[in-house]
Symmetry: C2
Subunit: 344 residues, 2 copies
C-alpha cells in the first residue's frame, strides 16, 4: 500500500507540472495542481450502483417527489433546492410539522465526490445519505413501509423501478429509492472557471482571482480545503486554534463517542460557496467575508486583513459553477390505493 | 348588445359546423364545438400586462423563489407544483408554521383562461391572484414591505424588474411581482387530445372517449363544464339539486354576503382532472369515480350507473394535456442586506 502511494506520487509529479499542450504551466498552476483537481468530465458512479439512464431518470423523479414525505409536502428538493445551488439558504431547514433541523443543509451539487456525507460524515456516500432524511421524524418523517406502499401503488413507478433495478424480485425498496436518488445526485456537477484553469486554461482566472488563489495557498487554507471539492475530502476540528463561541455542536463526537472528535466536522466544499450561504454547521453566519475572517482566526490562528479577505473571496467566487439546466420531471399520479398524506 | 349577440351567434353557426379542410365534421364534433373551444395556440395576456419575454422570465424565477415567503421555505410552486400538474395533490395546502389552508389549491395550468381566480372567484385574474397567497398569514405570510426589501436588496432582481417594467420609477413592487408571475402563469397551457379533436382531428379521440364525450353532453354536465377550460367559466351552487353533507363552505357568500351565493363556487376546470386529485373545494374525495358520481347526484339529480361513470372518466382522461417542459430557473443570490428568513 505504501509502495503504491510512492509510485502514484511519482507519476503525479511527472505528469502534472510543466508543459500541457506545449504551453508552460505557471508556477501558480503547478502549485494549484498539487492540491486541487478539476471535476471529472463524467459523473463517477459507485461500483455497486451503476448509473444507468433508467436509474438516473427515476432518481430525478424521486428527488422532486413530495410523496417521499409523510405529509406530501417535502421533497429532497425542498432543502436541497436546485434553483438555489442545491441548498435552501436557511440556517437550518424546516421539516415535518415545522420542526427545525439541527444543522445547515449542505449543497447536493458535487457532493457525491466528498469523502462522506452529512456534516459528521455518518453516511458513506450519497446513496446512504439519501434515505436518511426520508425517514427522519424531524425531516420528511416517512417510514420505509410508507414509502414502499406509496410508490408500490403507482404502476408507472413500479415499472420504472423494474427498469432501473432489473432482475430484482421486489425493486421498490427504500434502499433502491436512495440508490436511484444517489445516482441522479452524482450527475449534479457544476464545473467552474477554476476547473478550466486547472486544466491548463490559465486565462480562465483574472489577475485578482489568481492573487486570491495564491493567498489561499500561502495562508494554508488549502491544508483542509483541497482536492476535487476544494474541501469535502477530510474531517477537521472547528476551532482548531481558537474555538468560536457558536461552536457547541459535538459533531463527529456524537457518532464515535471519541473525545478527540469533539467539534470535528467534514470540511465543507467551497465549490459554489458564494451561493450556499448561510455558513457553518449551524448556518449562523450570512456574510462570506465574516465567515472567511472567522476561519482565519479559528483554524489558522491569524487575524486576516481586509485585503486578504477580499482577495480570498475573489478566488472563492471563481468556484461558482455553471448553473445546471434541470427540467422538472413529470411525476406519475397516485392511485386510489396510494396511502394518503398525513400532516400530523 | 342584444343585436351584437345575435350577429355573433349567426357567425359562429356559420363558421363552426360543417366542413373543415374539406372533411365533414361528425355530429359529435359539431355538437362539441357548440360548447367547447380548444386552447389558444399562444398565451393570452391581459391588455394591461403585456407578456414580454423579460417579464415572463422574471415571473418564472419568482414563481420558484421561496424568498417571497416569510420563512423562505414556500414558493408558488410549493402548492402549485409544476411536477404534479400544477397542484400539490393534498386536500388543502400546508402554509406558514404548518397552517392548513381552508380550500384545495387549484391547478395553475390553463387557469389564466378562467372567468376569475380562487374557488370563490375573489380575484379577477391570475395577476390579482398571485399576490394574495404571498401576503396571506396562513400561506406564505410575507408582507409587501418584506417582499420589496428582499427583492430590492438583490441587484440582479432589480435589474430584471427594470427590464420587465421599463419606464417605471420603482419597478420592484408587489403588484409587479404578481404581474410577472401572472404573465408566466399565462404561458402554462397544456393542450390535450381533446383540443386536437375540437380542431378537426377526429381520430384524436378513440371510440370510448367519443362515447364518453357524448355521455358528457347528453347528461348536461356541459351546462357548467363548458368553454375553453371545460369548466372555469361560470359560478354554480354546489348541491344544486342535492347538497352533499361535506358542503359546508359558504363559498361566494363570504365574498358577497348575498344569500343566493351560499355554497356557490367557480366551476372547476376539468382539464388535467385525472391528475388534480383530491377533488372539490375541500379536497375531500380522492377517487375520480366517486367525484363523478357525487356530481351526478348533487348537480344533475341523477344516480349515474357504473357504465356512465366509466364512460365519463374515459372522456375526462382525454383532457390530460401534454406535460410542460419547464427548466428550473437559476435564482440570483441574496446579499448581506437581504432581510433574513423568519420561521415564526
Amino acid at each position: 500500500m505504501k509502495q503504491r502511494s510512492i509510485v502514484l506520487i511519482t507519476v503525479v509529479l511527472f505528469l502534472v507540472p510543466g508543459s500541457v499542450f506545449g504551453v508552460e504551466a505557471s508556477g501558480l498552476l503547478v502549485q494549484a495542481r498539487q492540491s486541487f483537481s478539476p471535476l471529472p468530465d463524467k459523473p463517477v458512479f459507485a461500483e455497486y450502483n451503476p448509473g444507468t439512464e433508467a436509474k438516473i431518470a427515476l432518481g430525478k423523479m424521486l428527488y422532486f417527489d413530495t410523496r417521499l414525505s409523510k405529509s406530501n409536502t417535502i421533497s429532497c428538493n425542498s432543502c436541497h433546492n436546485l434553483a438555489t445551488a442545491g441548498v435552501d439558504n436557511n440556517p437550518v431547514s424546516t421539516g415535518h410539522m415545522w420542526t427545525s433541523g439541527a444543522r445547515n443543509a449542505p449543497t447536493v451539487l458535487n457532493a457525491s465526490l466528498h469523502i462522506a456525507q452529512f456534516w459528521d460524515g455518518r453516511a458513506e456516500d450519497v446513496e446512504e445519505q439519501a434515505a436518511m432524511p426520508i425517514t427522519n421524524p424531524a425531516e420528511m418523517a416517512a417510514t420505509e413501509k410508507l414509502v414502499v406502499e406509496r410508490l408500490g401503488s403507482i404502476p408507472m413507478y413500479v415499472s420504472l423501478f423494474r427498469d432501473a433495478f432489473p432482475g430484482e424480485d421486489k425493486p421498490v425498496r427504500l434502499v433502491n429509492v436512495a440508490r436511484a436518488i444517489g445516482a441522479f445526485e452524482r450527475t449534479l456537477m457544476t464545473p467552474s472557471r477554476f476547473d478550466k484553469f486547472l486544466k491548463g486554461d490559465e486565462g480562465a482566472l483574472d489577475e485578482n482571482e489568481k492573487t486570491g488563489l495564491a493567498t489561499f495557498l500561502s495562508l494554508k487554507c488549502v491544508i483542509c480545503h483541497s482536492g476535487v471539492g476544494v474541501g469535502g475530502g477530510a474531517f477537521m476540528k472547528f476551532g482548531l486554534l481558537e474555538k468560536p463561541d457558536f461552536v457547541t455542536d459535538p459533531g463527529l463526537f456524537d457518532v464515535t463517542g471519541n473525545k478527540r472528535d469533539m467539534h470535528v466536522f467534514k470540511v465543507p466544499s467551497l465549490r459554489n460557496v458564494e451561493l450556499t450561504y448561510p455558513y457553518f454547521n449551524n448556518g449562523i453566519v450570512w456574510d462570506l467575508s465574516r465567515a472567511v475572517k472567522i476561519m482565519g482566526k479559528a483554524q489558522l490562528g491569524v487575524e486576516l486583513t481586509g485585503e486578504q479577505v477580499d482577495s480570498l473571496i475573489c478566488f472563492l467566487k471563481s468556484l461558482t459553477g455553471t448553473p445546471l439546466k434541470i427540467t422538472i420531471p413529470d411525476l406519475p399520479p397516485s392511485t386510489v390505493s396510494t396511502p394518503k398524506p398525513d400532516i400530523n
